[in-house]
Amino acid sequence: SGSQTAPSSDSSSSPEVIVKKEKVVASWLPIMQTTAYYVALKEGLFEQADIEIESVKFENPNQIIDSLVSSRADFGPPGAAAGITVLAEAKAPGTFKVYGLQGGGIKSGFINDGLIVKPDSSIQSFKDLKGLKVGTIPGVQWETILTYILHKNGLEPGSDVTIEQMAVGLQLPSVVSGAVNATLSLEPVGSIAEATQQAKRAMTNPVAMFIADPFYSGAAVLTTKFLQDRPETAAKVVQVIDEATRLANQNFDQYRPVISEYTALKSEQASYVAQPRLRSFSELDSTDIDSYQKFVDVFYEEGVLDQQMDVTEIMLDKSELA
């Protein structure tokens, strides 16, 4: 995008004649929850704020955190994994600040996850999984969530239910081929399942049902190093994402085509996938933070975290912004 600058309409841009662009590195995941970031790129919001973005796509949320910890990247746009951020913060306290949450909720009517089964399946809830196989995303985060939910339903993984961890791309094929009886899947798996009529959601937002409503699996994070070294730029990034989140929430359908530019979704799929609940920094309220806290508490209860974590310490505070 070069260094040539358009006359800026942004009030926060400095009045100097020569405007130097700040280079900022972002690590992002190609998922729906990242929509605000796509909108910001599409609308040129970063350029308007005199920020030059170097954008690095990852398939695995851990690598986003790795790149942030090693200071190879400055911030993670919305959609970085909320749970993994806390796990990393536990190992390296004071590294991250969360400035936005993304997910879904039953009351608010946004879909985050679902229990996916065959169209003709009789499974209606987790209780029906006794003696069956259920799949979920690989790794300890989702294994813990699923274990927690199964416990709440009176089932013991291993003896009553078999958990199969499987890459996102394998989840629908596994259900369709009968290799597993159900999967606990993040969007857009459920939307694609319903649209192709190969599978359906037996439950919508089960995680919200059993852990916290609303439920946030995604977070927008930046490093404290970035915040300390370049507070003004960090503030601008937060502002840009805030503005983009507002735009996305206002006109989500209008921005659907943009999603297919950045994710695996094809344009026709982007037109029907469920809209996620996107919470910008300025909108975050105590309900959101409570929900996040409940999610993190699950890690502690299931023994993944060996100390209790207070999420308010990891949340970005308005006073920290320049």
């Binding site: 690095v56 990852f58 695995n60 790149s67 090693s70």
Partner: protein
Amino acid sequence: MSSSSLNRLSKAATSLLSVNIGTLILLAIWWIAAALELIDRVLLPTPAETFVSLWNALISGDILQDFGLTLYRSLYAFMIALVIGVPIGIILGSSEKIYQSFEFLIDFFRSTPATAMFPLFLIVFGIGDFAKVAVAAFAGALIIFFNTAYGVMNARKTRIMAAKVMGVPRWRVFRDVIFFESLPQTFIGLRTSISLTLVVIIVAEMFVGSTNGMGQRIIDAQQVFDMPQMYASIIATGVMGYGLNQIFLITENKFVHWKGR
């Protein structure tokens, strides 16, 4: 083997067919399995659907860029592996002692998934493309070390003795004799390596993430449940691997004419 020109002619004529026999059998199995719906159509598309998907991707041109980028990354990684691998392999193989002191590391890293090492490469080489190239080059170089060193260790002693007794400088014995002695084995290493390099690049594009490349195509297609597109991309990748192997095979047949003599 065949020396008469008649043989050669008939060979050329049947080669195209014979090349296809194995492939044709596989296609037939695929076609039958799909036609009889032994496997759900959604999970295993018909060959026709797949090739239509491939064809569409080709004429729309969007597969070409991904193909080119993956090819570029694989070759880049392979070149690094080659330049590092062959000389080091020869040196390793030339002395049992030296080989033994690196044997543990070579066998260790050969048996560790390159992708598990990715966090380390990310730290050292940054988050750009080069980290992926580096990890593939690493995996490829290990294979080249291993094969070249083996080739050197299994070299015919008489030839090395012949060169030694001539008073040829030590480094020239390496370059002129041991290198050639190990060449048949080195070529096997190169072919294993180029395929592995391609595999690691694809896997990195798939699981580490990339905005382009065949690996990204495969995982995207997989995630949105577009099976014809996924198989089309896999086929394109496999054809790339075959093509790269053919280049080596042709080079090998030209240069390593003394095999088995």
